[in-house]
């Protein structure tokens, strides 16, 4: 067993390297991903290693990156696109939602579309506007797409490789605030499928549910709650579409209380969908309404206000108190 301690950027880099080495139909494409190695250095060194026909510094046009990836997939390639920042994905919206997502069904279910779109997403990095958004709900709403989001280096290493092996298109949401904290990566073995959720911490009183960077906030909240005598279970969604509801519902049936947390705005969000599904399927187990903790329904604020906007452990604990008050 080989275990290495590394940050998520290195884990994704290693996962991409493994995928490029394993299958010569895999290619990476995006803005500044070659010579520079990407603005977050996720693809650092890969152009040197695999050449400019495998790691493409594309012209600066998001719709064309995804649109040509579709054509390359038709040719039998497995393109991995990088969208430089979450808020820059919208020029590609038609190519993702009307073209990529529907291409398989428009070919009577026969044509695979093995395209991965990597999206560094979310706040906590103090950046300028359009650089800190959590826009997963737009894409989770679209049939034909799959969405995943790792919360730690080990998952990131394996999930990027599994996403590349998927015959369906996968949007891969990378929590950019978690790019640099290190964690153990088991390079020898993966223990969980791409679209499975994972119990990140076991507990008995309240279930906390989240993905990506939010998982570390939930674990922090769970630690604090433990000191206050409340036993909290944390579910790391990992897969945002489809959501793996089995472990979530099992947990809620055990605890009777659930809080769903996300950086995204609340209105018509993934958290809203999960809360509704828990209510529908575990109604008789619930001791309290399912509570959502979200960003506010305003544009992502200037960075000096992001700590007010983004849910932190205190906001999560406030919600824990609310579900325990019933």
């Amino acid at each position: 067993m080989t275990i290495e301690n590394m940050p998520m950027v290195k884990a994704i880099n290693a996962g991409l390297r493994a995928a490029l080495a394993k299958d010569d139909r895999v290619l990476l494409m995006g803005e500044d991903i070659g010579t520079l190695g990407g603005v977050f250095r996720v693809t650092e060194g890969l152009k040197n290693e695999f050449g400019s026909n495998r790691v493409l510094d594309t012209p600066l046009a998001e719709s064309a990156i995804v649109g040509t990836a579709i054509g390359l997939a038709m040719r039998g390639y497995r393109p991995v696109c990088e969208i430089q920042f979450d808020g820059f994905i919208y020029p590609a919206f038609d190519q993702i939602t009307s073209q990529l997502a529907k291409m398989t069904s428009r070919h009577e279910g026969e044509l695979p579309m093995p395209v991965v779109i990597r999206v560094p997403y979310g706040g906590h990095i103090g950046a300028v506007e359009h650089h800190q958004e959590s826009n997963e709900a737009y894409f989770a709403h679209t049939a034909g797409l799959r969405l995943v989001s790792p919360s730690n280096p080990h998952d990131a290493y394996w999930m990027i490789q599994e996403a590349i092996e998927s015959q369906d298109p996968v949007l891969f949401f990378e929590p950019k605030s978690r790019y640099w904290p290190k964690g153990d990566v088991n390079l020898s073995a993966n223990d969980i499928p791409l679209h499975a959720s994972r119990i990140a911490r076991t507990g008995t009183d309240v279930t906390l549910i989240g993905h990506g960077a939010m998982v570390s906030v939930l674990l922090q909240a769970a630690e604090i709650a433990q000191e206050e005598g409340t036993s909290v279970e944390v579910v790391d969604l990992r897969s945002l579409s489809p959501v793996d509801y089995g472990p979530i519902l099992d947990s809620v049936r055990k605890t009777g209380r659930a809080v769903v947390a996300q950086e995204a705005p609340q209105n018509v969000s993934l958290g809203s969908e999960i809360a509704a599904t828990i209510t529908e399927r575990a109604f008789y187990s619930l001791e309290a309404p399912v509570v959502r903790v979200s960003g506010f329904d305003v544009p992502f604020p200037p960075a000096k206000l992001e700590t007010i906007y983004l849910p932190d452990a205190d906001r999560v604990l406030d919600a824990v108190d609310r579900v325990l008050s019933y």
């Binding site: 064309a64 649109g67 040719r75 038609d94 529907k102 009577e108 799959r146």
Partner: protein, 378 residues
């Protein structure tokens, strides 16, 4: 005004059907010279058949058999000529009015009809060898330009062009209209095609109207020049001259296959009919413009040429009969089309198993079964 400058137009047949190449046509004449009388007659036959098919599809729409139809009347010269200009091993990305191209690549036209009868959203697979790399229609204007460019990038990365073997080298042709040239995706496709020097031809059918908006609103400079700033040379061709459309496409596809990079063709043609069966062109076009274009009709022009070359009445009568039979067969089989199995909604959305598809299809099946034998969607 809809009309634009046409000085450098490549034309081989005059409006009267006489062979009279323009100066701009000179470099393309050798491609015409390679055509045989059998080829001329095949072009004629296909134009007549597809026009008759188109008329039948309009009839079917008017009779309630189709939800919508997209007429191709008037554009047969641009389509048949360019369709034969591409090799059968090239890849073709149509927009949604390229019925002649679909027929020539080998599509059963009833499969095309299905999309307009509410039975599919595409319905064929370019990997089917019988379809000769014909991709499905794309309805979002211009989106396919990027898919075509990505495909051509793949050809380049595979090294399947510029090898000197004309029978193996590959290229891509993508069709769109004058309106589509305003779409960002088309400009982005030009950027990527130029950047990667893809083996590819962009074929603009300038039919002069994007539904109700004339081409002068889309472009103040003739469209064949649209590629210049991107580094893509353009050629303007008389799209109602099937020989010119053939020769220009054949040469530029050859050039693309041999590694000379992407090229753009602007074929001047005209949509004689409505944009779709839901459209009323009398609200935005005047009759004199229509008459002017009817006088340039691609079929009557080729007929004059063929008669001058000695084609007999029996040939033309035979083609008319063949077209009628073709249309009757399409009609018969369209009327025989049956409904869809609702379960395929869930089976076709993803390639790999998906829990939401499984749950919702199971629910629908149970819901349908709850009505007993008399109820249900199917």
């Amino acid at each position: 005004m809809a009309e634009q400058k046409t000085e450098p137009m490549v034309q081989l047949l005059g409006a009267d059907g006489a062979f009279a190449p323009t100066a701009a046509a000179e470099e393309f004449v050798p491609y015409f010279d390679k055509l045989t009388e059998a080829d001329w007659k095949k072009f004629y036959r296909d134009m007549v058949v597809i026009r008759r098919f188109d008329a039948e599809a309009i009839n079917l729409q008017r009779q309630g058999q189709l939800a919508l139809w997209v007429p191709s009347h008037g554009q047969e010269g641009a389509q048949v000529g360019s369709a034969y200009g591409a090799a059968m091993h090239d890849h073709v990305f149509p927009a949604y009015r390229e019925h002649a191209i679909a027929m020539i690549r080998g599509l059963d036209m009833v499969d095309l009809i299905k999309q307009f009868k509410g039975l599919s959203h595409g319905g064929w697979d370019f990997r089917n060898p019988e379809l000769h790399n014909l991709h499905i229609y794309t309805l979002v204007i211009g989106s396919q330009a990027l898919h075509a460019t990505g495909y051509a990038m793949g050809i380049a990365f595979d090294g399947k062009y510029a090898t000197g073997n004309r029978d193996k080298d590959e290229a891509v042709i993508v069709y769109f209209g004058d309106g589509a040239t305003s779409q960002g995706d088309v400009s982005e496709a030009f950027v990527f095609a130029a950047s990667y020097q893809t083996p590819q031809v962009f074929f603009i059918q300038n039919n002069h109207w994007a539904i109700s908006v004339p081409v002068s609103v889309q472009a103040r400079v003739p469209l064949y020049r649209r590629g210049e700033g991107f580094g893509i040379p353009g050629t303007q061709v008389d799209g109602n001259d099937v020989f010119a459309s053939y020769a220009v496409t054949a040469k530029l596809m050859d050039d693309a296959r041999s590694g000379r990079g992407p090229a753009l063709i602007e074929a001047h043609t005209y949509r004689i009919g409505a944009h779709t069966s839901s459209d009323d062109p009398t609200k935005y076009r005047n009759e004199s413009e229509l008459d002017e274009w009817i006088a340039k009709d691609p079929i009557s022009r080729l007929e004059a040429f063929l008669r001058d070359k000695g084609a007999e009445n029996s040939f033309f009568e035979g083609v008319t009969e063949e077209a009628a039979d073709f249309a009757a067969d399409v009609r018969k089989r369209t009327l025989e089309l049956t409904g869809l199995d609702p379960m395929q909604l869930f089976e076709k959305a993803y390639t790999e198993p998906h829990p939401r598809m499984r749950e919702q299809s199971q629910w629908l099946a149970q819901y349908e079964a709850s009505f007993g034998d008399d109820g249900g969607l199917a």
